[in-house]
Subunit: 454 residues, 2 copies
């Protein structure tokens, strides 16, 4: 969101054409801050502001604008200007930008971009979404093995302006096979006439170009790397994924799980950018599917119509009982789904977890049974109190177990366990809750009837 | 989880006492890989394995063991050995370790640690949980401003073994005020006799020591920094938070939101490490609170007892209608909660979002109404079909609106919007659903009655 403090200042400086201050600002402020503070400017003002910085800097600031602003800026500017900006941008950022533009705009732009860059762009755009290839960048720093440390440092000085990072350097042979890794720190600490071959680490942790981006982010985070190399099936270096992508990927994956857990097909664009039709489509299928699950609940009520009709007081406690079942199930399912997603528990630990949750469920069930017994006693007398209390115990215990088991079952069936969503578990728990309630009610009434007859 | 392939190999090498291979392995493998592959060893074997590496390396590997393994390793080893390991560990990692040990163990260990380290540990342990101070590390690289670049590089060479990173260097005055920032890349590219003062960036983005760790992670991620400096209210440098902490903080915060959204008070330790009593306590309060919300549903049924008794067929569709309301509300609440958490929408955009969701809700409502009209027509005739269809439209529309508004209301009341959890919204939507259903039913029956009388 635009910073209301600095926006008028920017505007004033621009209308005054205050070259000195603007050049200084564009040079001193962090590109992310410039982008943040100037987000409220219109397209013309933004391009005017950018023109006070050299091309490299313009490209950096541009990368920090939100996607929708970038699109606006592209649609308006002369193609020539945009093509030189694309050449200056970081290789992964420009591909991210081009992916969200209309195909027509891209096809008009690309012929103006230098050939090497154009080929790099086409290559990077060809990797399937959600893979390492689609997240990586190709502007890494590399060295041959038979270089001395001092030669290596001067090679790196030359690569620095075009490299995403020179802190991690990959050692390649003539066919670009990844043969080693050396950090800038290693180079700084080594003797100037040592060979890179002798100080490099020969076993490099890498990921494959077709690997899932979530796995790549987890590897990067596990090793606390600044970047991880991406190789093809011949171990040739194709690109690197850098630390700043980890946060983006993790946030996107968490959002996906949140949406699935609420029975929404994950949005491709953010909520703010999703239209009404797109939101509708991603929700309606799940809602209709859940209607069919709910019909089972209707079936249970129909089967026990007589019981309900004879003791209408039972209906009062319907919401209380089935809600409690759904809530307990949601809690258990979410705890398990999240523990599985963060690799905190292993699917192999199923038995231990079930035993643990039987104890938790029993404790919760007894507490809830006592509470609801008194509530029902107060409103419907001892018989109803007993029925409601016993039902509550059975419902909480079994809904809790259902919540624990469903994620494991889904994961075994190769579904995302996050689908053991609150709406799904709630709706299934309702069927179970109604069934248990009416079973307990008929059984208790029969038993009391028998007692009275004695 | 332990890697079953390498564990027997490690065991064999250890029992053979194969010094050469073990020393080589401990030198060549990444500390994270050593920790991963040796996780299945027992305490004695692990210490034996570690002894094949120099102390610095031992400390690195140790940091990569999961918390519970670290605890085990500490409890068993001689205090002297552990104290030298603590001195070698990264300053934030050792504080993380000590925080989870029993106070008694810590008080026994600390006197054996060198004085400077001991003071650093006590200082870092004193910051409140969830603040920048509690996440930061104090082993940063720093320089005075009036140094030449070549002097700076040799100063950094000396700091390297004890610094978390030398890629980001902070420029301090005599009172440790943060006056500038320079990256190792800047230093490598600058003339050797240039002054640090002239190449440093004077405006440094920093965070305050008492700031929330989530904000710190967001700042770090926003600027794509490797590290962000943490200062006190006098702008004195207190520590740095590094990029590898971002992933940990983000994962922890996402887990917290998942738990809240399922009406579970967030677990302090992971699910695997939480006992039955702890799990019970974090769930029972919410369940009991929701019982009281459900009682409102019972109240609604009681108020409309007559209607229900006269047309018992209405009861069949109760679960269908209230489940659909709850599911729609969950979807909307989750979309909004997540968009707010990722700063994708701004609380100020409320009006626009409400208008958008009125359209989405209307589209969903009409679809669901048509589907349920036919289901009810088939089972209960035209009258019941009309009642169920109209009720469904009203329920979906209003539950959707409730799902949108509740997170905003909670956030205005300074609660975490994630509390607009699925269980809460489902339970509230039930009350609303029942009320709407019975109102529509009585109104429709009256109207039909009037029609027949005409």
């Amino acid at each position: 969101m635009p910073n209301p403090l600095l926006l008028p200042e920017f505007r004033e400086l621009l209308s005054e054409g205050n070259t000195e201050t603007l050049t200084e600002l564009m040079g001193d402020m962090h590109p992310a801050s410039i982008a943040e503070f100037s987000e409220g400017l219109d397209v013309d003002e933004t391009w005017q502001l950018l023109s006070y910085a050299p091309l490299e800097r313009q490209a950096e600031v541009f990368s920090f604008y939100p996607p929708e602003n970038q699109e606006e800026l592209v649609s308006d500017v002369g193609r020539e200007r945009m093509s030189s900006l694309l050449e200056a941008m970081s290789h992964d950022d420009r591909v991210d930008l081009l992916k969200q533009l209309d195909e027509e705009v891209v096809e008009n732009l690309l012929p103006l971009v230098a050939r090497a860059d154009r080929e790099d762009i086409r290559k990077l755009m060809s990797y399937p979404e959600y893979t390492a290839g689609a997240v990586m960048t190709t502007d890494y720093a590399s060295l041959p093995a038979d270089t001395t440390v001092s030669e290596a440092l001067s090679l790196l000085r030359r690569q620095a302006p075009n490299a995403e990072t020179i802190y991690y350097v990959y050692v390649l042979d003539a066919e670009r096979h990844l043969v080693g890794f050396v950090s800038l720190q290693d180079l700084i600490l080594a003797r100037p006439n040592a060979l890179v071959r002798d100080i490099m680490q020969p076993d490099v942790v890498s990921v494959r170009v077709e690997q899932d981006r979530e796995e790549v982010a987890q590897e990067l985070a596990k090793y606390d790397f600044l970047a991880i190399p991406v190789v093809d099936d011949q171990n040739r270096l194709m690109g690197i994924v850098t630390h700043d992508d980890v946060a983006d990927v993790m946030e996107a994956e968490a959002t996906e799980d949140f949406h699935l857990a609420a029975a929404v097909t994950p949005l491709i664009r953010g909520y703010g950018q999703s239209g009404i039709w797109s939101l509708y489509r991603r929700r309606v299928g799940w809602l209709l599917m859940l209607v069919f699950v709910s019909l089972l609940s209707s079936g249970v009520i129909e089967a026990y119509e007589e019981v309900l009709h004879s003791v209408i007081a039972l209906a009062f406690f319907l919401p209380l009982l089935i809600d409690s079942g759904g809530n307990t199930g949601s809690q258990a399912a979410t705890l398990i789904v999240r523990a599985l997603a963060t690799d905190e528990v292993d699917p192999k630990q199923l038995v231990g977890i079930v035993l643990k949750e039987l104890s938790v469920g029993l404790s919760l069930g007894v507490t809830m049974a006592v509470a609801s017994f008194f509530l029902a006693l107060f409103r419907g007398g001892f018989d109803v109190g007993m029925i409601v209390g016993i039902s509550m115990l059975c419902i909480v215990l079994s809904a809790n177990l259902l919540g624990v088991l469903l994620p494991f079952v889904l994961s075994r069936l190769r579904f995302d366990p996050a689908v053991a969503s609150s709406p799904l578990i709630t709706t299934v728990a309702d069927v179970l809750g109604l069934l248990l309630y009416f079973m307990v009610a008929t059984w208790t009434m029969n038993w009391m009837g028998t007692l009275e007859r004695l």
